[in-house]
Symmetry: C2
Subunit: 230 residues, 2 copies
């Protein structure tokens, strides 16, 4: 069973892993992560109280990257491995996965939540530095092949795949091209290639729905800000 919300990039990450591993599961979505978290979520992830949570054999696994690694290890009989077999390549995959969340996602979220134009510009600058670094990482990891994982999708493809909805919303709502053909031509082509795969198409939400959700979230944040400043 997967506890999540449909638009969370971290939940999408886990769904991508389950999809590429060919696993079926019960999908339970939280209605409200802001004011009214379910008992099941609070019991399953008492430390961070956040989705996604994977409940398997009655045990809860939390944190999206750890869930993806768990899925890869617990369902090893499926034959498709996301993590590489070689210890050095595994270490590099984990290194870049941490970079994606700690640098790229973190900076992109800061840009999205920035309160001043100056803060936003600084966060966007850091986001693009992270994109450039990751472009080099793609070159190193993929060795001229279509995916981080080589000929087929691997751990880093899944980890970064969670960013695709943000790429689409950034472009449609704000005209920001996170990956473009001057700064990151390899990653720009990778997004197209990855999003076109059946196992990804089955998971990635529709762009219109994402845009609507992004507008609703912004309106709610503005309402909360207005209420607290009274």
């Amino acid at each position: 069973m997967l506890l999540g919300t449909w638009a969370s990039p971290f939940v999408i990450r886990v769904k991508l892993a389950l999809s590429f591993k060919g696993l079926s599961y019960e999908n339970v979505e939280e209605e409200d992560l802001y004011y009214n978290k379910s008992e099941l979520l609070l019991m399953s992830n008492p430390v961070h109280k956040k989705v996604p949570v994977l409940i398997h054999n009655g045990k809860s696994i939390c944190e999206s990257q750890l869930i993806v690694q768990y899925i890869d290890e617990a369902f090893s009989t499926e034959g498709t491995f996301l993590l590489p077999a070689d210890p050095y390549e595994r270490a590099m995959a984990r290194f870049w996965a941490a970079y994606i969340d700690d640098k790229l996602f973190a900076a992109a979220f800061r840009a999205g939540k920035a309160k001043t134009e100056e803060e936003k510009a600084e966060a966007l600058k850091q986001t693009f530095v992270a994109v450039e670094t990751l472009e080099k990482a793609f070159k190193e990891c993929s060795k001229g092949k279509p995916f981080f994982g080589g000929d087929s999708v691997g751990y880093l493809d899944i980890v970064l795949g969670a960013l695709i909805p943000i790429v689409y919303v950034g472009k449609a709502r704000y005209g920001i091209e996170l990956f473009d053909d001057t700064r990151s031509p390899l990653l720009e082509a990778w997004v197209e290639r990855f999003a076109a795969l059946d196992a990804a198409k089955a998971i990635l939400p529709e762009v219109d729905k994402l845009i609507e959700n992004s507008k609703a979230k912004q309106a709610r944040a503005a309402a909360v800000a207005a209420a607290t400043s009274k």
Copy 2:
């Protein structure tokens, strides 16, 4: 080859892993991580420019938790595994390892660097909340046995072992008992037990040397602050 500095908890973490796996290595210590990082360090860790870095077979592995996992996987023929074999237990070990760095270490470092008494009190409060949470985690993971890893030292023992120098310095210099017999009796006993093992004793620096280093760091930070405020 291990690139490090003798007093860094993250370097000590890697040394503990190498020691418990019974591996020998060339120890290269950076003299100055503040103003004058070596060419070797900058080349080996161009992304974060930080120690520790393990160089093995001509390849660099960075980030202490990832290095420990690498050591466990690359030297699997040694017979002693740090990570548990079961996928769920592995996920839990990685979960608590992330908690140790992101919550416990992070709060303890904030307390150490706090500029006002208020900031310090808040950071210490968060540190102790993390200690209490980790006390429960120890109970869950060890199942009544002496270590996080059960009867023998495992991944989480190594990850938390890096904190022991901070425990000693905190007590000797500031009278702060990070682990005590009311808040965290299990972890307090664990520190004694872990630090008494030969493989740990071989690595953990002498307390006097740590205290001297802590005073020198504080004096340097004060000098930098005085110079920049001129």
